[in-house]
Amino acid sequence: METTMETNAAMPAESPLYNKRNYLNNGYSLRSWFLTVDHKRIALIYLASITFFFILGGFFAMLVRLELLTPKGDFMTSDGYNRAFTMHGIMMIFFFLIPSIPAVLGNFLVPLQIGAKDLAFPKINLLSWYMYIGGGALALFAMINGGIDTTWRFYTPYSTGHASGYVVTTILGLFLMGFSSIFTGLNFIVTIHKMRAPGLTWFRLPLFIWAMYATSLIQILGTPVVAITLSLAAVEKGLKIGIFDPAYGGDPILFQHLFWFYSHPAVYIMILPAMGIISEVISCFSRKVVFGYSFVAISSMMIAVIGFFVWGHHMFLTGQSQFAGLIFAALSFLVAIPSAVKTFNWTATLYKGSISFEAPMLYVFGFLGVFLIGGLTGLFFPALGLDRHLHDTYFVVAHFHYIMVGGAIMGYMAGLHFWWPKMFGKKYPEGLAQAGAVATFIGFNLTFFPQFILGYMGMPRHYHEYVPEFQFLHILSTAGASVLAIGYLIPAICFGWSLLFGEPTGPNPWNAKGLEWEKSLSPPPTENFSEIPVVTEEAYNYPDAEATVVTRS
């Protein structure tokens, strides 16, 4: 990516494949991990923590899917079921998906990709993990003491006036976790503004950085609102002050406005980073510059901005004014356009590429498939007259799982596999990992596609028991979930195997472009770069078959 790096051939043979002095062996004490300010170590403790919450969320998903095998509630009580899906939602959304890519891959990569030694505020970065884990601990405490059944949306007046269990404790946990998210966003924004290597202009930034920037904007602008909203709900519940509960003179619709003001954009906190990863991976494995780079970059920003003005599409049937409904519907359609533009550009990137199909790239293809379905099924809701039928049915459940599980997790997996050699300097077993990608794709579709049909047939969300005619599709869905579980188990095996037996990869096993590959080692040293790199070229400057000279300077 720089003049001094002339050839694009494989790494010189004499370079040591495994970097001996790296961030991983820079201290082994607990203290050296839990009081570290190294963004890479913080990324790894995040990786461990979010994996824990993912497993927990997955466990609850399993309970839910098992219960739904039969129409009657014969596996759990209704309260048990309601708590299971609530805990599933809370663990997955707040403690896994929202932090997943930003806190793990973002933390690890933002400084490395822009040629910085660390984030702008390393201590705040550490603090943000403590906020996260503190919040997680509170939520866990509430869970162990019976959990809550408010759904992850905490709709009032149910959550404030009727629900039992440790609602306030959970809310406090989310409040803390929210601040961790705000701190991460703040850190990234300042870092990206202030710490880019010389020559790394905005339009030379890797698209992952653009995506992280857009995500951070949402995190710092949206999260405070939900933190305040949930706190108000806690105040109402604790002190019986009427804010959202009409029984005390409050307004339940106000809660929904405030809640969705954050929680719609929160979907983009989950999917934008995944989109960033897709751009990186598709470019590397096609050995091509991303088609329409600036359109892909700007579309991330457009999604972040427009995404703030569509929240009312969750409330068309609350009695919100018809005029408001129209505006929210129009804007919701509009936000589909930048996503479409991205998809077209990714596909076009394949054209005249030199494409290979290692696991990260298979996840990208999987992402494309499920993201198309997830994105397009989003168009059914702002079509107002149709939302009347589909609102809060399994159609919605399927739609957002396609985006948040299909899209976001496939992107996360693509990224984990892609940067794994960078993070640990070791190979993972390629064939097995590819099998994991395929199993995830098949399992995912088998789980969630039937739910679209269920929704169209009229199966409402959050149902413990259902009418018998829905059973067949539910069985399919549960069967798919078990395949999906295998799809998640395989990468875990791959990564575990890699840590134990993986061969060293060298600094740039994919022969990829980007400072983290070309200018740092694997695993990177604590200071990332031996000297601050200077950037003189565009992002993704892969060799060109039609150019006479293979590299440009």
Partner: protein
């Protein structure tokens, strides 16, 4: 209505299938054609193409614009109850649905309605948010505590159909289900006539006296409160000059939250009846106020008539209206 909703549904399905299959096929073809192999080790760099970017922004924009207007038009129809709709009161509570027909007949979790006749539901919740959903007729609306909700639909075939609560409401949410039984007109009339309850309008009238509304709201201007005769559907001028149409939602709010909107020329002295009247009683009061017509100076008159026949949204009919064939709403 089901047919109209499905038409839009299949339009969007078609667009989605076209793009999903199209893009996936193109991606697969490209992946095969440009797979890495000895003669294709180096890619040809293409930085972008402005006309293409414009084309693939504008075409989707066009397609979603159609979706937007189509959906909006449909929604508008779904919001505007036809004039000849029959009114039914609905109260949701954890965990059951209570229905009251215009002649006062009540039922729980089962709703009998005539076929090919628009039905307008006036709904309220006694506790948390519920949501009434009849998938067969593509009809759904939240049922809110503390405010009135309306929705209408028209059953176009007889039979028995699922009715679900579609908004999570606690333990027995999934058992807050019932049936909509759609009957032929005659059968419905026969079913309805078998029972003589007190009509919502009549109950409202009684409440109007027992709760003391009548002490302030007289039929002439001498009272401390405004005259309520004929206000339904009229435009009301509020303190500060704003205007508001006195629809069901407004009447409901005037009773439960009188301070929220003050009629110009009056003092904010009306007490709230939130805790004093049950959800259903408030809906009955609304029904009564709506029945007060300017021409029928004696308030209660329409209520008597309502006893023997469904009261339509607009004006009470005296006979079992030989079912006016549905205008727009049918499939």
């Amino acid at each position: 209505m089901a047919g109209k909703v499905d038409a839009l549904y299949f339009y969007i399905v078609a667009v989605s299938v076209f793009f999903t299959v199209g893009i996936v096929l193109v991606a697969i073809m490209l992946a095969v054609k440009y797979r890495r192999r000895p003669e294709n080790m180096v890619a040809t760099q293409i930085h972008g193409n402005l006309p293409l970017e414009i084309i693939w922004s504008v075409i989707p924009l066009g397609l979603v614009t159609v979706m937007f207007f189509w959906g909006a038009k449909l929604f508008n129809e779904q919001e505007m109850a036809p004039k000849n709709s029959m009114d039914i009161l609905v109260t949701g509570k954890k965990w059951m649905w209570k229905f009251q027909h215009a002649n006062g007949k009540r039922e729980i979790n089962v709703l009998h309605i005539p076929v090919n006749k628009p039905v307008r539901l006036t709904m309220g919740s006694e506790d948390v948010i519920h949501d009434l959903f009849v998938p067969a007729f593509r009809v759904k609306h939240d049922v809110m505590p503390g405010r009135l909700s309306n929705v209408w639909f028209e059953a176009t075939k007889t039979g028995s159909f699922h009715l679900f609560c579609n908004q999570y409401c606690g333990t027995e949410h999934s058992r807050m289900v019932g049936k909509v039984i759609v009957m032929e007109q005659n059968a419905y009339q026969a079913w309805l006539g078998g029972d003589t309850g007190e009509s919502p309008v009549k109950s409202g009238e009684k409440l109007f006296t027992s709760l003391g509304c009548a002490t302030c709201h007289l039929s002439n201007n001498a009272g401390r409160g405004p005259v309520l005769v004929g206000i339904a559907g009229k435009s009301i001028e509020l303190l500060g000059g704003a205007k508001v149409v006195a629809d069901d939602k407004y009447l409901y709010e005037s009773i439960t939250e009188p301070a929220a909107k003050i009629v110009t020329g009056y003092q904010p002295i009306m007490p709230t009846f939130k805790g004093l009247a049950t959800e259903e009683q408030v809906l009955q009061l609304v029904a009564y106020v709506k029945s007060l017509k300017a021409d029928s100076t004696a308030g209660p008159a329409p209520a008597e008539a309502g006893k023997s026949a469904p009261v339509t949204a607009d004006s009470p009919t005296t006979t079992a209206a030989t079912a006016t064939p549905a205008p727009g709403g049918a499939q």
